[in-house]
Symmetry: C2
């Protein structure tokens, strides 16, 4: 969806890498995250300051191969150490349903003795856990807060804020949680670049997360870090004039979040019309809030639609839609009812248009 | 060490990535490894054909974030599945000592229920295992073959051929093992690019390794894949004229393996002279063989020196050298005697020269 925007930016987001550049494993040996390119660190902090969606002062910035790697790194860092784990049980990893289907898969695929998926946070009993809080939530777009109280025991939280950007939701406050995860995949659309970052308050946790990435992949692609830095800089430039730019030399900047919001508003309006036309689907109610970034009231426009089929005879909505050539992910994969499906709202224009046409014709 | 070479190649290995390019997670959905850029697949196969160090026909090429990720992927793919693991013990992972110090660390850091480090392959009893065969071996440069016979039980092997390139060793045969791991870090010197690849015979194993990378990092940086493809192409171009190149337009090509071999021969000669001058260090004996790539007899020039301190009163060689401002990794970390240390032979020229000077002055 964002490709159209980036085609218009010309060389503002283009990166050139000579054969001899960034050959080393190391970026900055004085940093906790020794493989983080200093320019990416700067541009991450700058963009958060421009948008106001997350605090950066007093935080360590860590880079990962997508935020998925940093999600695993956080589990590794928050779990009791190996000696404690050998004696006891792996720590429980929970998230309120419906939760991102990758959380259980990624937590359990190596059958780690350090952590283990334990399902819906709302149903969890115990005082030792890692709670994953995704807000806006994948798959249903809900604004979430932790449901378990970390003060009562050994609970820890990880905030997955991949979708906390102005194209998807009003920025209502500057988040300042212990561990916050972000990714260029959702903020700028560069999924193929595989760059995520974490903002981490505690130095010991930041060190342990860094150790995970070191053991897992000995750092993160420098080429992608440089590209991500360039892309994030181009986004910030759209909203903030840099010192070296004078009024005369600057053309009207391209503004990613304006572009993204326009597209998302348009798509959500098309989707709501299609669901209404068909008469058999319902969607989460639209919510809105005052956005501190745009300085106006805005509706949420989630990156996914959490679609419910209301027809009595359809118990497997994904199967029903598949029969009509619409590919979605079943609610069952998100710890929810199979009457729900998750639909991506970020596909290319032509694919999205076909989806809307097919959906509106179903009765 | 290779930076000097790549500075001379000009734009032959330069990559330019516009803002809108390779934004998707996907590269080729028809391929087992759906996130592998087709151009990298082509250039990997081409380089192996040029060098003759590994068979590629009938193999799947998989890409990873460095070969470390593919090492973990191989353990995941070769271990019994989760149901079998739940019932029994994790499979034993072994390698003949001295073995690469990361093998035990990477195998065990998540305390997986699927696989568990079990030490020296020579001392292993049992018929269910994964044997890691690193050849030329890290740390001692030895040419290795599997010591356990996979035909007698449920044994599987993973061949880590990171150093099986003409700058380090004569290419004596075309390797054709079930799983072979390589990396640009050691072949071309681009460690920061974090691109490794695996050549895998069996389709089901290739699928499972791909699944690991999908769960771990949802694929591999496209930017780095494109850069690696460009760099590998520049290496092959040095030895193989492409169809579109005519004699008139081509200047003398720069040849990476010639450059690398010259440097390594020079450094090993300096190191052997320094060890002799000091009188208290010994090194593995030089071996040689006929190289099918260069068509001449050549000596091995390992990427690491496996240095032994022969002084009776020095039991901890790494500690002794640290006291003389030489940083090395202790043999103890490689499952061997602490009288040994591993020294990198691939550092920058100035750092290598300082090391040689300090070493030769020790008595």
């Amino acid at each position: 969806m964002f490709e159209e925007f980036w085609r218009e930016t010309g060389d503002a987001a283009e990166v050139v890498i000579p054969g001899w550049q960034t050959m080393s494993y190391f970026s900055d040996v004085t940093n906790v995250c020794w493989f983080l390119e200093p320019e990416l660190d700067r541009q991450v902090r700058r963009l958060h300051r421009v948008v106001g969606n997350a605090a950066v002062d007093g935080y360590h910035v860590l880079v990962g191969t997508g935020s998925t790697q940093l999600f695993m790194a956080a589990l590794y860092a928050l779990a009791p150490d190996a000696a404690a784990a050998a004696a006891g049980e792996p720590i429980s990893v929970v998230s309120t349903a419906p939760y991102y289907s990758s959380y259980p898969a990624v937590t359990d695929f190596l059958r780690s003795g350090l952590f283990r998926w334990a399902g819906d946070a709302d149903a969890f009993k115990g005082d030792s856990y890692i709670e994953l809080v995704c807000s806006p939530n994948n798959p249903d777009g809900a604004i979430r807060e932790a449901v378990l109280d970390p003060k009562t025991g050994n609970g820890r939280t990880v905030h997955d804020l991949a979708y906390y950007w102005p194209q998807y939701t009003p920025i209502t406050k500057r988040a300042s949680h212990d561990i916050m995860l972000f990714t260029v995949s959702k903020s700028t659309g560069h999924a193929g670049t595989r760059i995520g970052w974490a903002l981490v308050k505690d130095r010991a946790i930041a060190r342990k997360m860094t150790k995970f990435v070191e053991l897992n992949t000995i750092g993160v692609s420098k080429d992608s870090q440089m590209r991500a830095a360039k892309v994030l800089a181009a986004v910030s430039d759209g909203y903030e004039r840099r010192p070296e730019q004078t009024k005369e030399t600057t053309t009207t900047p391209l503004r990613l979040f304006d572009f993204g919001r326009r597209k998302m508003v348009e798509r959500w309006s098309m989707l709501r019309a299609a669901a209404a036309a068909s008469g058999i689907f319902s969607l989460p109610e639209e919510t809105s809030g005052f956005c501190n970034f745009t300085k106006e009231t805005a509706a949420t426009n989630p990156a996914f639609a959490w679609l419910r089929c209301d027809r009595e005879d359809v118990e497997d909505c994904a199967g029903f839609l598949r029969g009509h050539k619409i590919l979605t992910r079943s609610g069952a994969q998100f710890g929810a009812d199979a009457r729900y499906v998750r639909v991506s709202m970020l596909d290319r224009d032509d694919a999205f248009d076909i989806f809307i046409n097919r959906l509106s014709s179903l009765k």
